[in-house]
Amino acid sequence: MRVLFASPFIPPEFITAHGHRPSRVLSAAATDCHQGRCAVAAGFDEALVRGDLGIVVGSCDQMRRSADGRVAPTFRFHLPATWTTANAARQYGDELQRLSVFLQRHGGHAPADLATHLLDHDTRRARLRTGCSLLPARAAAEAIAAYAVSGVVPASDPVAQPPDGRVPIALLGGPLPVAAFDLYDLIEGCGARVVLDGCESGERGLAAPCDRRLAADDPLAALVDSYFLAIPDAFRRPDSLIFSWLERGIAERGVRAVVVRPDPWCDLWRAVVPRLHDWGRLPVVLVESDGESGSRARLATRIEALTEMLG
């Protein structure tokens, strides 16, 4: 069966090992998101149809509260907000075990060759990460999106782009729906270039490289390490993973500014902005896209101001 989920914390290889077909949803609701309703959560609701299985990860209010009354069997995955304790890691592992039972109950089988699947996906993700450091931002995002939806990664090796004089920036925020990928073009048109994609749908949402020995010995523990203990996000407490991830981006990619794009109504990402100001390592610009006419012009103005300042 097709198993839909939106969170980067759900390992697709775990679903594959149960005989199901994982597919991550990266779409926002097309229309009529009433006031206060998250377009991403609504988009997930729209994507889930009869015959699917759904996994709702409760890392924010909107997703947690969107799991009622679905047509398809839906698994509620509690993703701990805390992460620095043994209890939190144990809870994540316990939720994976519970998910396993759910997947088996709905047409799957006991996990088979989990370590093999894990290492296979680890190889695919390594290829994607290489692409992230070499490809234009939109091409890299499209490659990650294709992997998220179907597990496919580009067959050919990416070719490094020559320096183009644009200001290297990090883009940070929740999931960027594929339909909104023209934001990368807009940023390039304004003289900047996303060299570190911190959207949930981008490089930030990729699991960390796994410990191959641990993967062979204890694949579940390897999943905990690569996903739960590694992916930075705004909902995590404390939120320090975001900052250490950005520090690496500065060192490895020469990031010179951060553009934050919170989804409308997302308190968690909106509250990261003043934290970044406190951090004080890079200039920060908030770009809010509400889909209203004229919003693109406002975004462009803000990003152009940033590139002028750094140019």
Binding site: G36, R37, D61, D68, A81, F235, D239, D267, V273
Partner: protein, 439 residues
């Protein structure tokens, strides 16, 4: 009901003079016991500062609403309070305290729920003393609060985070336990919360140099249960009696005492004894604040502006059911189980950590025997959970046919009074019509 300038209300006028300007707009139950309740709530800051000055250990518990204070009460000379309560300060002080403006300056603007006022308190050192330890529940708690609490890190605070996971029903075949509110919960979920509370217990013991053993915890649970039992009894009388024997705001204050005893457990019990006696006497005499035919309302969520509850009463409504987010603090804590397990079970009674459908179903199930006629969902401005509460409640009561209205209550609602009062009046008229004309 009396206004602040009534001779009987003298005890409250000093709080008005101290900056709680909204008191002049409110009406009060004239019973001395009810005025003492108000005085007890408003004087908490003084108690906390005095305790800290005397060398006491002050814990700022956040978001769990009812659990951590029981742990803290087991430690000699320690007191817990909820900085969350700062969300009423902009109302009580008519926005003169500057807490929201301070939160704005810290980058937490009006897109967030009014609980952001606590940032202003921490930043200015106003309204409550700086806690010696902040303990914040996260996980299935609301995004607004999680974001606001994380913002405290920018003010040099380092909260102890503990995981309060989402409530879920047991999976088929999964080992389950029955919670104090009657719900079944997976045993593994209770164990997970217990493990987190054990971590908090160790941290508290270390910070205060206290053993915090089971004996002390059991004693604390017993006393907390005394408070909870009294609050339940008062609430049952207040919501169920034919003539509403306790005004809505005073009922809300009573429920709040169950959260953390207003940082003085002994005095809290005395206050509750007084209110209980007043309510019981009124029920026995068949008197109350509202006529027997007042429309019986189920009210969901606390209100940022207390005056709104009084508008409901002035329009001819009365509370017959509430979910002020305090249910878990009124649930009896088992005195037979290991203390940490017992506390984990009541923590999971929190209706806010599950789905909206679960919350609505619990509120309706509890209120239904009291002859509910209509439902008000008071939306919290800026709250990330606000958009789905109204539809979930409407769905939950659809088979009963109760009319539902959803209103957003700002911290000072005067500017919206025409709209809010108009909607409440229309709702009550609809309910009255339904008494004779069935759709």
């Amino acid at each position: 009901m009396i206004a602040l300038d009534h001779p009987t209300a003298g005890v409250l006028r000093r709080w008005h003079a101290a900056g709680n300007l909204r008191l002049a707009d409110l009406r009060f139950d004239p019973a001395p016991e009810c005025l003492a309740l108000w005085d007890f709530v408003l004087s908490e800051e003084d108690r906390l500062r005095a305790a800290q000055a005397a060398g006491g250990f002050i814990v700022g518990a956040m978001k769990d609403l009812g659990t951590i204070p029981v742990l803290v009460a087991a430690i000699p000379r320690a007191r817990a309070f909820y900085p969350d309560g700062a969300w009423w300060l902009p109302c009580l002080q008519r926005q003169s305290g500057g807490q929201l403006a301070a939160a704005d300056r810290l980058g937490i603007g009006e897109g967030f729920c009014p609980v952001r006022a606590l940032l202003g308190c921490y930043a200015a050192g106003s309204d409550f003393p700086s806690p010696d330890l902040d303990i914040c529940a996260v996980g299935a708690t609301c995004d607004d609060f999680s974001a606001v609490a994380q913002r405290l890190a920018g003010l040099g605070r380092d909260p102890l985070w503990w995981e309060l996971p989402a409530f879920r029903a047991p999976d088929p075949g999964e080992a389950a336990v029955t919670l104090p509110n009657g719900e079944a919960a997976p045993a593994v979920l209770v164990a997970a919360v217990a493990a987190e509370l054990q971590r908090v217990r160790v941290a508290l013991g270390r910070a205060t140099g206290t053993a915090l053993d089971d004996l002390a915890l059991r004693a604390s649970i017993r006393r907390a249960n005394q408070v909870r039992a009294r609050v339940r009894e008062i609430r049952e009388l207040a919501l169920g009696a034919p003539y509403s024997p306790l005004p809505a705001v005073e009922l809300l204050l009573t429920e709040i005492l169950a959260l953390h005893f207003c940082s003085d457990l002994d005095r809290c019990l005395e206050i509750l004894d007084g209110v209980q006696a007043v309510v019981a006497d009124r029920v026995a005499r068949g008197v109350g604040h509202q006529p027997a035919d007042a429309v019986r309302v189920l009210w969901l969520n606390p209100v940022a502006d207390l005056r709104v509850l009084q508008w409901l009463e002035e329009a001819g409504g009365r509370l017959a059911g509430t979910d002020f987010m305090t249910a878990q603090a009124m649930a009896p804590i088992s005195e037979d189980l290991p203390p940490i397990t017992a506390l984990a079970q009541v923590a999971l009674c929190d209706r806010m950590i599950g789905s909206d459908r679960r919350r609505a179903a619990l509120a309706v199930a509890e209120a239904r025997p009291r002859g509910i006629e209509t439902v008000v969902v008071a939306r919290v401005p800026g709250a990330s959970h606000g958009c789905s509460e109204g539809p979930a409640m409407a769905q939950a009561v659809a088979t009963m046919g109760w009319p539902v209205v959803s209103i957003e209550v700002p911290v000072v609602a005067d500017a919206a009074s025409g709209q809010i009062r108009g909607r409440l009046e229309a709702l009550l008229e609809t309910a009255l019509t339904r008494r004779t004309v069935r759709p």
